[in-house]
């Protein structure tokens, strides 16, 4: 008898659990998990983004705090980089174009940070976006400015988990990472390299911009609930 009661209670608990699991479908957490399962270049992060206070081509100061309330797509490059940086910039431009045809345009900011402030002066910063298809409507190229140590942005890159190491010939060895920061300044994801599916990054941005939109999924069949777990 006790065994039967235990069995019935277990089944009821499992059914209730499966029901609540189904209810969170389409949430940011589910999207994050789906991307984790499907996109091999996607990495979940859960920590405050490193603080920064830099400046744009016109000398206006731009800090992490200034960008609160917007989803931020941030990456590091330097303008004289001959190989992977232009490809990275063009990938970001592709993402930006996809985002900007939607209402997300006003909710997302694309930030490029130079790791070579000595050579990437205002003119270089101004011209880089146009050359690589980046739209200044919600894209900004940042540098450390003359008052800060020359390695400021390279140290910032290190805080984001990767390094730009200068060699004697002026080139820098580095990895390629696109960082995602949410509206609260939380560093929530990395997309590594250039091989990720652009729509996956756009979907993740969309999930972040819709974090406040509630979703209530109707209850599927019990079998559907079981299947959804596997």
């Amino acid at each position: 008898m006790r065994r039967r009661t235990f069995l019935a209670a277990s089944v009821a608990a499992a059914a209730a659990a499966l029901s609540s699991r189904a209810a969170i479908a389409h949430s940011l957490e589910t999207l994050q998990q789906d991307l984790f399962d499907q996109e091999k270049y996607f990495q979940i992060k859960e920590e405050p983004a490193p603080e920064f206070a830099l400046q744009d081509a016109k000398g206006n100061s731009v800090s992490l705090a200034d960008l609160r309330g917007k989803v931020m797509v941030l990456h590091f490059i330097y303008a004289s980089c001959p190989d992977v940086c232009p490809l990275h910039a063009e990938k970001i431009a592709e993402i930006q174009e996809m985002v900007n045809i939607t209402p997300m345009k006003d909710r997302v900011e694309f930030i490029t940070v130079t790791t070579d402030p000595a050579r990437d002066g205002p003119e270089v910063l101004e011209g880089y976006g146009q050359a690589h298809g980046l739209d200044p409507v919600n894209w900004t190229f940042l540098t450390s400015g003359p008052s800060k140590p020359e390695d400021t942005t390279r140290k910032l890159a290190e805080q984001f988990g990767h390094s730009f190491t200068k060699s004697d010939d002026g080139f820098q060895t580095h990895s390629v990472v696109t960082h995602l920061i949410d509206q609260n300044g939380e560093w929530v994801a990395n997309f590594h390299g250039l091989g990720f599916e652009p729509t996956n990054l756009v979907m993740f941005i969309n999930g972040l911009t819709n974090a406040n939109v509630p979703h209530h999924e109707p209850d599927p069949s019990l079998w559907g609930r079981v299947r959804s777990f596997f």
Binding site: I24, H26, T30, T102, M104, H216, E217, F229
Partner: protein, 219 residues
């Protein structure tokens, strides 16, 4: 009956035979149990991730969102909901939005977007969505939608994409939404491209072979 046959049927011999048979049976059970245990452990290792998700969804551990199960009671005040349909550059689908609806706050409504693939090749799409104005988003509750889900349309196929929603009556008490008379739900479909289409086919098991036969240019 010779002497050998006599000794074979003595009570002692019968007892020994029975014990031997019992030992064999126990060995068999042990082997089966151990095999079962190994299988169960392998199955549990595969089930670890979904079981962890289950644990998180039940307990809220790890920040997993808990949501309400039903729409609140409708109130008299009404709001207009408009729908917007877009396709990204390079996405050849024809994608149409439903007409605007006027709903009472708290009242559930169902509308359907329509998508059509006018090309002669299958196309895998995925849609982003947004609610405007931004401050109304937290009150726009979706019950059913096609967000974040890959959608496959075969050549010439037309499909309806239903959306069920309600607007939380609490919007009426929010000072930030005092002037909100209409909410727009906007969807934009993107082409996931041939590589994602191939992966989609590969991950859809038994449907894949049938589907693959209709795909032009895929090996």
């Amino acid at each position: 009956m010779n002497q050998d046959q006599k000794t074979r049927f003595t009570p002692l011999a019968v007892e020994q035979d029975r014990e031997k048979a019992l030992r064999e049976r126990r060995k068999g059970w042990t082997a089966v149990s151990l095999a079962g245990l190994v299988l169960a452990m392998v199955a549990l290792s595969f089930a670890a991730v979904p079981l962890y998700r289950l644990f998180c969804s039940v307990t809220g551990y790890g920040g997993t969102t808990q949501v309400a199960a039903a729409a609140p009671e409708p109130v008299e005040q009404k709001i207009t909901v408009r729908f917007d349909a877009n396709v990204a550059g390079g996405m050849p689908w024809v994608f149409e939005a439903p007409k605007p609806v006027e709903v009472a706050l708290g009242e559930s409504a169902v509308v359907a977007y329509k998508g059509r693939n006018p090309t002669d090749r299958p196309i895998l799409g995925t849609a982003t969505y947004n609610v405007t104005p931004l401050q109304a988003g937290q009150y726009f509750n979706k019950i059913q939608c096609f967000c974040f889900t890959e959608q496959l349309l075969m050549p010439g196929e037309e499909k309806e994409f239903p959306v069920t929603f309600f607007v939380d009556p609490a919007i009426a008490d929010d000072p930030d939404n005092r002037k909100t008379r209409a909410i727009t739900l906007s969807y934009t479909f993107f082409d996931k491209g041939p590589k994602a289409l191939e992966e989609y086919i590969a991950s859809h098991g038994s449907e894949a072979a049938e589907l693959k036969g209709e795909i032009i240019g895929l090996p």
